[in-house]
Symmetry: C2
């Protein structure tokens, strides 16, 4: 019971979001568990909770923090 | 004890972020508990968990999902 509650709390405290990139009309997972997102000129800088960093020539299309989803598409 | 755990779970499951707007070098709270964010042309569309919607001529400067903060500045 206690373990179950702890799992529930830990699971639910993950507020990071996953970034998906639209490729040929489909959403592809680009980076998980993002903690920091920063638009930089024509790029997006993303950093996740494991310290992994990525930059990509893309722009934010929509973010849904309830669904933990960041949707981005390539910058034309 | 059970109530405390419930409070903890509810408190920690709030994954929404607050949006702050930079005005004269200071961050001002613009909208709380944001669930959806969508850049639209030169505006930002924001919607919170209470269904409140706002549009503003601003751009995202940085988002920190651990701190639940979205920082935006006015679009020049």
């Amino acid at each position: 019971m206690i373990l179950n509650l702890r799992n529930l709390i830990e699971e639910e405290t993950m507020c990071e979001a996953n970034a998906y990139l639209i490729k040929e009309g489909k959403e592809e997972l680009f980076l998980e568990d993002i903690s920091i997102l920063r638009p930089e000129r024509d790029e997006l800088y993303l950093q996740n909770i494991f310290g992994e960093q990525k930059r990509i020539k893309a722009r934010i299309k929509e973010m849904n923090l309830i669904d933990h989803r960041i949707i981005a598409d390539f910058k034309l």
